[in-house]
Symmetry: C2
Subunit: 219 residues, 2 copies
DNA sequence: ATATATTTTTAGACAAGTCTAAAAATTATC
DNA sequence: GATAATTTTTAGACTTGTCTAAAAATATAT
């Protein structure tokens, strides 16, 4: 039973939301992510439940079935592989890839994606540091933390971003921060939780809204 | 005003049909190519005419406007560039590329297609020998002829195929015929117009239905 | 040139996915 | 625990692209 583009987008949205909150995913949360009305979401949830892609109990939110999870992860695999392709082979910068990858992720051809994987030398992470699921839907878990939770005095490597909006990525580019950048935490301000950091031998102060969007790993 | 995937497929069909018959394109011909009913075609023609992509006079068939032609040719450019990508970079054979390219041709991103063009080193022809339109919609005209019209005693190079169905391409592969193959016309049978040809130092007899599908150029 | 056959268009219906407005269920508040 | 606020679902309608069946226009044949 093949999935439509719209169904795939719903599954992806449900998957992403369920990553950040362990309980069932609410209709409103999906509506917000998809940019649709809650009534439209309800309609689609019925359809996805009919196809055994989610478990759906009225008024109780939804969860992906194993079939649904595999479908969602497969789309994410394709999305991230295409992002690597765009950056590594077509000279896109990391803030330009998202919209195009959103289109490319829906192309249906197993051979295409396997060959692309090989062409790119089987990458494990996309240009924003997110792990690329393997063919079987396995995702490598990392021990990354959010920069805002880093400890004063320690040094970290930047391994990913949460918000991959163009504006945020451009901010990082401006300060020459990218995946692999070394970040030393000098001080953490109790009042507003802003942080003083040493990056590229320069001291930089970041507000909580910035440090909440960067993933780092202890060196 | 952006075009939908369906509109693009209609424009492409109209373009291709208009290449093989100089007069206006009929509703039935489009229906056949698109694999839809004539009534559906009529509906779409009204929409395309409203968007100034075709000129449409009831019962009289259609023609592409300049805007429509440019849109169609742009899709064809993308289709053929993707085909080159699939064969050159992803190890597809020339009989496997069509369906995937049909999907990829609708991806909307000027940067994507320009960079792809560069990655592939600005190819002029796709894997079936068809010319790739340039950015401005210009198509290089070639002096190719159909093999069935070739002259006895002359030698030709294979430069393209008409029918790029998987079956036909596999037939060619089996006889080790590809773009660039040398074909010497030994004899032409008056009765059924089959031809005796020397290819790869072997003599091979081809029926008219085969020779009608191969483009050649005099050496 | 009239009758027949073919092509094309119209009219009305359907499926997918969306919306608004209103009703029902759940959650929060006092 | 009753009432208010929020969330979710239902009901009905709209759009895109499709279909079938019937009507209209064009082309063909005698």
């Amino acid at each position: 039973m093949l999935t439509t583009l719209t169904e795939e987008n719903y599954l992806k949205a449900i998957y992403h939301i369920s990553q950040t909150s362990k309980k069932g995913v609410s209709t409103n949360a999906i509506a917000k992510k998809i940019d649709a009305k809650a009534s439209s979401v309800t309609d689609m949830l019925k359809k996805l439940a009919d196809k055994n892609l989610i478990t759906y109990i009225k008024y109780k939110g939804v969860n992906l079935t194993e079939k649904g999870r595999l479908t969602a992860v497969d789309i994410i695999r394709k999305h991230r592989l295409w992002e690597v392709f765009l950056v590594d082979k077509l000279n896109f910068s990391w803030d330009e890839v998202h919209d195009v990858a959103e289109q490319l992720e829906h192309i249906k051809s197993p051979k295409l994606i396997n060959e692309l994987d090989a062409l790119l030398d089987f990458p494990t992470h996309d240009p924003h540091g997110d792990p690329i699921p393997d063919k079987n839907g396995q995702i490598q878990r990392t021990d990354k933390i959010v920069l805002s939770q880093a400890s004063v005095g320690e040094t970290y490597t930047c391994v990913g971003v949460i918000d991959s909006s163009s504006d945020f990525l451009k901010y990082l580019d401006k300060h020459q921060i990218g995946l692999g950048s070394k970040i030393h935490v000098i001080e953490k301000e109790d009042f507003d939780q802003s942080m003083s950091l040493e990056i590229n031998s320069k001291t930089i102060v970041m507000s909580k809204s910035i440090t909440n969007n960067l993933f780092v790993k202890k060196l």
